[in-house]
């Protein structure tokens, strides 16, 4: 409804009264929805809105009238402004609430996992061991799994008739003068044959023993061999390096114990134990009630081994060690049966998810 702009005070006041009552009728505070509210806003406050027009029309009145009527109109406009804003906020909140409610999903449904791979616990354990040594400057070396007698035995000071061969039950290949290596010490020999001292190497890999498989024995298992050859290296260096390694692997407060042992290729030889980390030294099944857990074998390289590869034992000396990966993995993860590592049962593998690569 288009109105003529009032030009007299009376006309203006009449128009004002009409607008005021129309406003009351519109009942902005209870306006039903946003489109209606917008309609009201445009009708009164739009560029050509009734109140806008009334304010504009003041210019046709006398200065006195303007002074008295102007504030009146302005107040009405401001009040309407506030009412519209407030009602709009209310209506928008209500609208959002309804639409958010409508979009609601069942958040408790199971997640959709992208397929995610897992590394085998023997891989992560082997890498963990080898990486500690790599940080200590040991290079990664490998050798063949199929070996000859020389590299597996005789060059390691285990001659043919040596009783130590009894403890290395060996798989020989049919019709070939070859065997499956019984320890990673073979790589010591290969590395020394192909490189000049000084040396600092770590040789991880699979080894094979001709023995029946049970919870603690496997015919196939993994070792990490280490070898350091330098001038003036002694048993004390072996102790230092291995203690540093064990404290990195098992924690800085790890206590170590070095016991005499025998390996033909080292002299003196030692078996290294760590203080049981399952019990407070009082004894538990993990440490066979001794308070100590045997973790690796080591020793000063026997000069016969150095001579066998043409190193001068008067000039060079060193130490070597061998770590059973399965044994460490069993201790670290509480695996009770060694065969589990080779079962490839997904229920077993699923439990190793802390490291990916």
């Amino acid at each position: 409804m288009k109105r003529e702009a009032p030009t007299s005070r009376a006309a203006w006041e009449q128009a004002y009264a009409q607008s005021e009552s129309a406003l009351r009728a519109a009942d902005v505070e209870r306006c039903a929805d946003l489109p209606k509210l917008e309609e009201v806003r445009v009708r009164f406050l739009g560029r050509k809105g009734e109140l806008t027009e009334l304010l504009k029309a003041l210019k046709n009145l006398s200065l006195d009238d303007r002074r008295t009527l102007g504030p009146l109109a302005q107040a009405l406009k401001d009040s309407l402004d506030r009412q519209v804003s407030a009602r709009r906020a209310e209506l928008e909140d209500a609208y959002d609430a309804a639409s958010l409610q409508k979009d609601a999903i069942d958040l408790t449904l199971p997640s959709l996992r992208p397929p995610r791979g897992r590394l085998h616990p023997l891989t992560t354990t082997l890498h963990e061991i080898a990486c500690i040594f790599q940080f200590m400057g040991y290079s990664w070396e490998e050798g063949p799994f199929i070996e000859d007698e020389r590299h597996n035995f005789s060059a390691l000071n285990i001659p043919d008739d040596h009783p130590a061969r009894d403890s290395h039950d060996t798989f020989y290949l049919q019709g070939l003068p070859l065997l499956l290596r019984t320890h990673t010490s073979t790589v010591q020999v290969r590395v020394m044959e192909s490189s000049k001292p000084p040396l600092r190497v770590v040789c991880p890999g699979r080894v094979f023993r001709h023995e029946q498989i049970d919870a603690t024995h496997s015919a196939v298992f993994h070792q990490v061999e280490g070898l350091v050859i330098d001038e003036g290296v002694g048993f004390a260096d072996l102790k230092g390096h291995l203690q540093a390694f064990l404290q990195k692997l098992l924690g800085p407060s790890t206590q170590t114990r070095f016991r005499p042992s025998y390996f033909p290729f080292t002299e003196p030889s030692t078996e290294v134990d760590v203080k049981c980390f399952f019990c407070p030294g009082s004894g538990c099944p993990a440490c066979k009630r001794t308070g100590w857990i045997e973790i690796l074998g080591a020793g000063v390289v026997n000069p016969a081994v150095l001579s066998a590869v043409g190193y001068d034992p008067e000039k060079w000396s060193g130490f070597a060690f061998g770590i059973g990966v399965e044994r460490v993995a069993m201790l670290l993860h509480g695996v009770q049966d060694l065969r589990d590592f080779y079962s490839n049962d997904l229920r077993f593998l699923a439990q190793f998810d802390e490291d990916l690569v």
């Binding site: 397929p115 400057g137 699979r206 004390a236 016991r259 080779y342």
Partner: protein, 799 residues
């Protein structure tokens, strides 16, 4: 080896509890695998006197005794008829524990309080000896512990002796080691032998090099019978079964001083003589273990005039052994060279306590004394008269002198042991040790065969002075850039790619069964074979990683898994001429839903060929130019595990034209063999070494265009036989350099299309770095492509 602590104490006085002894042995390098407490399992039972006995007021068969244990008297109700005043008895005090864990407490018996129990032998777990309570006889002090009183308890240590220390394979040997460690003297061994028969010429040794010492002694008039308790107890403590006094004595000496002996029945030796010689072709030995052995020619045997009566140092013949009827015997005390005994033992697969010691190295000088000690014991326990020993011996050089210095030993150890300590330690184990200032001269005793170098002495010093007294040294380490091998680097890359693609790493044995290969359609003649497999399941070295993975899939499906995605990185083996080659490979399989999204079926698609193809593309990416060939095409070459793959739905991946990997469906017959036919298994198998040989270059960042690109979609109708790769190749061949990307977004066959055709929807993306292409240019390029497709493949645009 089982060591009885009581027995050990006969050689060296030791007071330590067994557990502490075990700790010391461990520090010396002898691990103790266990300690078994022997003897009756009771505590708190003491010797006590029956001070008085009265009848129980309420029971006919019970009596009330006052029992004096030396400290006070106790009121005890006893049911045994033989209890009498004045007896010394075994009295279980309140708190005592009897066998079976039965704990003695106060009890009321028919209204009378009993403060303990008078025990019978049976109640203490001892062999029964008459009825009623055990009467100890006069002598025991009141209150003395019955266990220790009667020497009934013993600790048996299971000691592990390394193969270089045969000298410690006996009680005296270990006592000698402990004597050096504790710096205490050994008790002397004395058992005089009276020789009353003169000497007989009984022995001829034909090979003095193999048998440097042999003594045979005739003993006449022996009475073979049961051994006395003490001897039986000793043997039983170390797990031996008593047989008869003579045999028991030889076994006792073996475990006492460590030297193996043998006793022959002299009347069952043809000619009554002994010859140490080589076995001849066709000879056999019916040994004491009731088995017969064919002796290969040339083994060292002890023979009578006709035949071998013992495999020297290993085992004697059953027929000539000492039995209940023996009266004349010949006692052998000999030293055989270790390699001879080892060879005999290996060739016949016959082992014994004797061969175990001889092949590790017995004390060459101990045979004479051990045999004399045994003879004296035989006279003592079995009676008879002994002749002088008939000996054959070859001169033997003493152990050589090791000359070294204290500083050399300290250098080997990285230790700073004072000279006196080192000298003192070595003197405790030496036959002879001297030297001034830094100098050391050391001669090992005859029983130590393992002390020939400074390193050997360094170990002795470390053992006797304590490994814990050597410092932990981290000498300044020259920083070195640690290298790795190309294969290891490639393995790590492969592992990270495969894990990122959702595969789990498996780890299988390198050995497998012939039937597994057959199930995989792989020829069992190909792979190398193990000479003496543990079982059928371990006969062959794997020619491929896939058979193991297929077994894993089968295993997991049978245990309820519905999706299996596994890979393995490992070695595979093949025969190559006179040798064997081993090669690193990476293989894997996929089956079942890729996403665990059962409740959103639309997203749960199953793994198929194209998923496995993606894995291979990912593995090979950036190692070279990737190409493909169908199996059977010349470019594909052949690999040993091709028969495992579906012949048509499999591809060889080529790197720079050379075969590098295979991907495809599992051959249906192999699928059947593994119960996987309904699963839809896809496999891949990549040669890791060819990847390792082509280390991927480091990623280089290239600038990319900020200008918009233009896309054009084409729906092409082609003959069904036209391969997608042909379409892409034709478009790429004729397209301008401005073609940035070629994308297939739909493949359709069926309703609405002419018979024998399919529709391929492709999206071509054009763009330039320097400017935006005009519509005319793009239209021109599309037109060229469509024309080429029509010309070369008969493709039509669908409208």
């Amino acid at each position: 080896m089982k060591i009885s602590y009581n027995w050990l104490k006969e050689h060296l006085p030791l007071e330590l509890p067994a557990a502490e002894l075990a700790a010391h042995l461990s520090r010396l390098g002898f691990e103790v695998a266990g300690i078994a407490r022997l003897g009756p399992a009771f505590t708190g039972v003491v010797a006590a006197k029956v001070a008085s006995r009265e009848k129980h007021p309420n029971a006919d068969k019970l009596s009330i005794c006052l029992v004096d244990d030396g400290s006070r008297t106790w009121n005890v109700v006893c049911g045994a008829p033989n209890v009498a005043e004045g007896q010394t008895v075994a009295f279980a005090r309140i708190g005592a524990v009897l066998p079976g864990g039965f704990k003695i407490g106060k009890a009321k018996l028919r209204g009378v309080e009993s403060e303990g129990m008078i025990c019978s032998r049976a109640e203490l777990g001892l062999p029964k000896d008459g009825d009623g309570i055990w009467v100890l006889g006069e002598g025991p002090a009141l209150g003395a512990d019955v266990l220790s009183l009667l020497g009934l308890a013993d600790d048996v240590l299971d000691v592990e002796v390394a193969s270089n220390r045969p000298d410690c394979l006996s009680h005296r040997g270990l006592a000698r080691e402990l004597a050096a460690y504790f710096r205490k003297p050994l008790k002397p061994l004395r058992l005089p032998l009276e020789e009353t028969l003169g000497s007989y010429d009984l022995v001829r040794v034909e090979d003095g090099a193999a048998c440097p010492f042999y003594s045979g002694r005739l003993i006449e008039g022996v009475k073979v019978g049961e051994s006395p308790e003490w001897l039986k107890n000793r043997l039983e403590a170390v797990g031996l079964r008593p047989i008869n006094n003579v045999v028991d004595i030889t076994n006792f000496i073996l475990h006492d001083v460590g030297h193996p002996l043998h006793a022959f029945d002299a009347d069952r030796l043809a000619g009554g003589r002994i010859v140490v010689r080589r076995s001849k072709a066709g000879e056999t030995l019916s040994a004491l273990d009731h088995k017969s052995y064919d002796l290969p020619e040339g083994l060292l045997v002890v023979a009578d005039a006709e035949k071998p009566v013992a495999l020297a140092g290993v085992m004697g013949a059953e027929k000539s052994s000492v039995t209940a009827g023996t009266t004349r015997m010949i006692l052998e005390g000999a030293y055989f060279i270790p390699t001879e005994v080892r060879r005999s033992s290996r060739k016949t697969r016959l082992r014994s306590d004797s061969s175990y010691r001889f092949e590790r190295g017995a004390d060459p000088e101990a045979a004479r004394e051990a045999a004399a000690r045994a003879a004296a014991l035989i006279l003592q326990l079995a009676g008879g008269r002994a002749a002088g020993a008939c000996e054959s011996s070859s001169p033997r050089a003493a152990n050589p002198v090791v000359k070294t210095t204290v500083s050399r030993l300290n250098a080997i150890l990285g230790a700073a042991f004072p000279s006196e300590q080192v000298r003192d330690a070595l003197a405790a184990i030496a036959a002879e040790s001297k030297g001034e200032a830094d100098q050391l001269e050391f001669r090992a005793p005859s029983w130590r065969l393992d002390l020939a170098t400074a390193f050997d002495l360094a170990e002795e010093v470390a053992r006797l002075l304590g490994y814990e007294n050597i410092p932990c040294r981290m000498a300044p380490l020259a920083p070195v850039a640690a290298r790795t091998t190309p294969v290891e680097a490639a393995s790590r890359r492969a592992r990270s790619h495969l894990c990122a693609l959702g595969l789990w790493e498996a780890c299988n044995y390198d050995l497998l069964a012939e039937k597994t290969l057959t199930a995989c359609r792989l020829p069992p003649e190909g792979p190398p074979r193990v000479a003496d497999p543990l079982s059928e399941d371990w006969a062959l070295l794997r020619p491929s990683l896939l058979p193991g993975l297929l077994k894993n899939a089968q295993h997991n499906l049978s245990r309820g898994a519905d999706a299996v995605r596994l890979f393995e990185i490992g070695k595979t083996y093949a025969r190559a001429g006179a040798g064997v080659t081993e090669r690193w490979r990476a293989a894997g399989l996929l089956l079942g839903p890729l996403l665990d999204a059962r409740w959103q079926a639309a997203r749960a698609s199953r793994a198929g060929f194209y998923d496995a193809k993606a894995v291979v593309e990912d593995l090979l990416a950036r190692a070279g130019a990737l190409g493909w060939a169908r199996l059977g095409e010349p470019a594909a070459g052949r690999t040993p595990c091709d028969p495992l793959f579906h012949p048509t739905n499999s591809l060889r991946a080529l790197l720079d034209g050379a075969p590098a990997a295979t991907v495809g469906w599992l051959h249906p017959r192999a699928a059947r063999a593994f119960d996987l036919e309904r699963e839809g298994v896809v496999l891949f198998d990549a040669d890791l070494e060819s990847l390792a040989a082509r280390a991927a270059p480091r990623a280089r960042c290239a600038e990319f265009s900020a200008l918009p690109v233009s896309r054009r979609d084409l729906a092409l109708l082609v003959d069904k036989a036209v391969a997608y790769a042909q379409v892409e190749a034709v478009v790429r061949a004729c397209a301008p350099a401005d073609l940035q990307d070629f994308l297939l977004f739909d493949v359709y066959e069926g309703k609405g299309l002419p018979e024998g055709t399919k529709s391929l929807a492709v999206r071509l993306t054009f763009g330039r770095r320097d400017r935006t292409l005009t519509d005319a240019e793009i239209a021109q390029a599309v037109e060229t492509a469509v024309a080429a497709l029509a010309r070369e493949l008969g493709a039509k645009l669908r409208t």
